[in-house]
Amino acid sequence: MKNRLTSIRSRIDLRLRDERGIALVLALVVMGTLSITAVSVAMFTTSNETSSARDRDVARALNTAEAGLNNALAVLTQQDSTGTQPIGATLASTTFTLDGYSGTYSATKTSGLEWTITATGVSPNGRVTRNLELKLDGTQSTQSTQQSPVYGYGFYVNSTTGCTTIAGNSPVQVSVFVRNDLCLTGNAAITQPGATSNTLTVYVGGKYTATANPSVGSPTQKVQSFTAAGGCVRQNANVICSTSSQSKAYANAYSSTPSAVTKPTADAAAVYASGNWHSPICTVGSFVFDGDTTLNASLGSVDLLQSNGRPSFDCTVWNSSGTTQIGRLAWNLTTKVLTISGTILIDGGLSFSGQSSARYTGFGSIYANGLVTTAGQAAICGPPALPNGSSCTGNWDPAQGALAIVGLNGWSMSGQSEFNVIAYVNGAFSATGGAVVTGPVITDTATLSGNGKFASVTTVPPGTPGAASSVTTTTWKVLPGSWRQLLTGL
C-alpha cells in the first residue's frame, strides 16, 4: 500500500516537472494581453481623434456664430440708424456662410433703443451647433445749430469787394450788414422806422461812401451803432465817421472793428439729393420740379404762377425711399393761394410773370436752380397780408407763415412788385423801380435803386440756408456684459 502511494506521488511529481506545452499557454496569455492593449490603444486613439476634430468644430462653430452677431450688428446699425423702429420690430432670420461653415442671425427690438440678437453657427456635418446672444444698445445725442445771425439783418451783402449801391428815394429802414463798401447816392438813406430810435445797426466792412444828401439815422432818431471798418468818405473827402456833422451818420455808438458774420452756404446738391424731385406725388394736378434726374437747371425758367393762370396742383416730394416727406407745394387757382411746407427745389430759374398775384400759407423754402426774376406787377403776400394788384394789403407777419426763396443764380426784380419773402441769393441781387422784397435779403452783391423795404425775421423756415436745425444722432454699441452662449447646442 505504501509502495503504491509512493508510485503515484512519483508520477505526479514527474507530471509537474514536465514543462512541455507551457510556451503555447504563455503565448496565448501574452497575445491576449497585447490584443487587449492594442484594442485599448486603438480605441483611445480614435477617441482622441474624434475629440480633437470636435474641438476644432466647436471653435469654428463658435466663431461662425460670433460672425453672425457681427453681421446682425452691421445690418441693424444701418436699418435702424435713427433708432426709430418700433419695439417688437424684427430682423428676419438670415442665413450666411463663412469659410465653409453656415450660420443664421436674427434680432428683435426689445426696447426703444435696444436690440437682442441671436446667432447660430453650425459645423458642416451638422454635429456641432453654437448659439449666441448679444444686446445692441443705442444712445442718442442731439446737436442743435442756431440760426445764422445774417437773418437778424434786413439787408446782408457777403461780397468783400466792390460797392453795394443804394440809390432809391425811399429809405432803407432795417439793419444793414455789407462786407464790402457801402455807397449811398441820390436821396438814399438808412433810417429808423417810424418814431423809433436806437434799434438798427449798420455795418460796413469796407468804406462808407456817400454823396451830399444820403444819411444814416437822423439827429433825433439815431441808429444803435454804426461801423465802417474802412472809414468814411463824404462827397469824395475822407471824414471822421463819428463826427456826424461831417459823415451824416447819426448813431449812438461808432466802431471800426471788423465783424466775422458770414453768409451761410446753400447746399443745393444736398437738397437735390434729399428728394425724388423727378417723381413727386400729386393729389391734385401736376407740377414738374425736375426735367431729368440731374441737378442741371433742366427746366430753364419756370413761371410759377403763370400770371395766375396755372392750373391747380398739390404735389409732395418724398425722399428716395419714400419714407420722409421733403416738401409740399400746392397752388389753388380758385383761391389764388400758394401753400408751402418743407423744402422745395425747382431745377431751373423762377419767374413771376405779368399779373401773378397771390398769397401763401405755411412755412417753407423754394430753391430755384437759376435766376429769380420778376418784371411785371406781381405780388406774393405773406399772412395775414392780402394781394391787391402789385402790392400787399396789411403787414406780413413771418410768425404766421414764411416763405424763403433761394435763388441759386441771382435775383432780378423790376417793375411794380412786392414779395413778402425771405430772399437768399447766390450772386447778384438787383431791385429797381418799385420792386421790393419785404423780408430780409441775403446776397453776395446788391444794387438797390427802388424802394428798399426790407425787414429782419426772427425765425426762418426750415430748409433755408442757415436755418436753425436740430440733428439727433443715434450711436449703437454692444451692451457690455450682454454676450452669452445659449445652452441649446451640443
Binding site: 481623434e49 476634430a53 476644432r56 461662425t64 457681427n70 441693424l76 436699418q79 469659410d99
Partner: protein, 150 residues
C-alpha cells in the same frame, strides 16, 4: 511562431499608428489654440486697429482660399495705440506650447452683408512646419468684426 510573429507585428503597427495619430491630434489641438489666441486678440482691438501691415506672403499664404488681393492694410489707428506686431503680420512662424513650430497666416478683408455696413472678416489659418518647410493646414477659423463691438 509564425502566427505569433504576425500578431505581434500587427500590434506593433497599431501602436505606431496610434502614436502618430495621437501626435497629429495633439498638433491639431495646439493649432486650434493658436488660432483661437490670434482670433481673440482681434476681439480686444478697436475696429480701426484691425488691419495687416502687409498683405503679401509666400505661395502657401497666397494660395489659400481666404486670400484676397484687396486685403485691408494699414500702419496706425490713431487715436488708439497701434496693435501688436503679431496682429498685423500676415504670415508668421510661432512656437506652440508643445515647442513645435507652426505657421499662423492671417487674412483680413472687408465684406458687407446685405443691407448692412462694411465688416472686417478675419480668417486665421495655422499650418504645420517641419524642418522649416510649411506643410498642411492644421486648423482654420474665421469670423467677422463690426464697429459696434468696440
Amino acid at each position: 511562431m509564425a502566427i505569433l510573429a504576425i500578431a505581434i507585428s500587427a500590434q506593433l503597427s497599431v501602436f505606431s499608428s496610434s502614436y502618430v495619430s495621437i501626435g497629429r491630434a495633439s498638433m491639431k489641438g495646439t493649432a486650434v489654440t493658436l488660432a483661437d489666441k490670434q482670433m481673440e486678440y482681434y476681439r480686444t482691438l478697436p475696429y480701426s486697429c484691425i488691419y495687416l501691415a502687409s498683405a503679401s506672403g509666400d505661395s502657401a499664404y497666397s494660395g489659400d482660399s481666404a486670400y484676397s488681393a484687396s486685403q485691408l492694410t494699414g500702419s496706425s489707428c490713431s487715436p488708439y495705440a497701434s496693435p501688436a506686431a503679431s496682429a498685423t503680420t500676415a504670415s508668421q512662424t510661432v512656437s506652440g506650447p508643445d515647442n513645435r513650430s507652426y505657421r499662423v497666416d492671417t487674412y483680413i478683408v472687408s465684406t458687407t452683408p446685405t443691407g448692412g455696413r462694411a465688416l472686417k472678416t478675419v480668417t486665421v489659418v495655422v499650418r504645420r512646419v517641419t524642418n522649416g518647410v510649411v506643410g498642411s493646414v492644421l486648423a482654420r477659423e474665421a469670423s467677422t468684426y463690426d464697429q459696434a463691438q468696440q
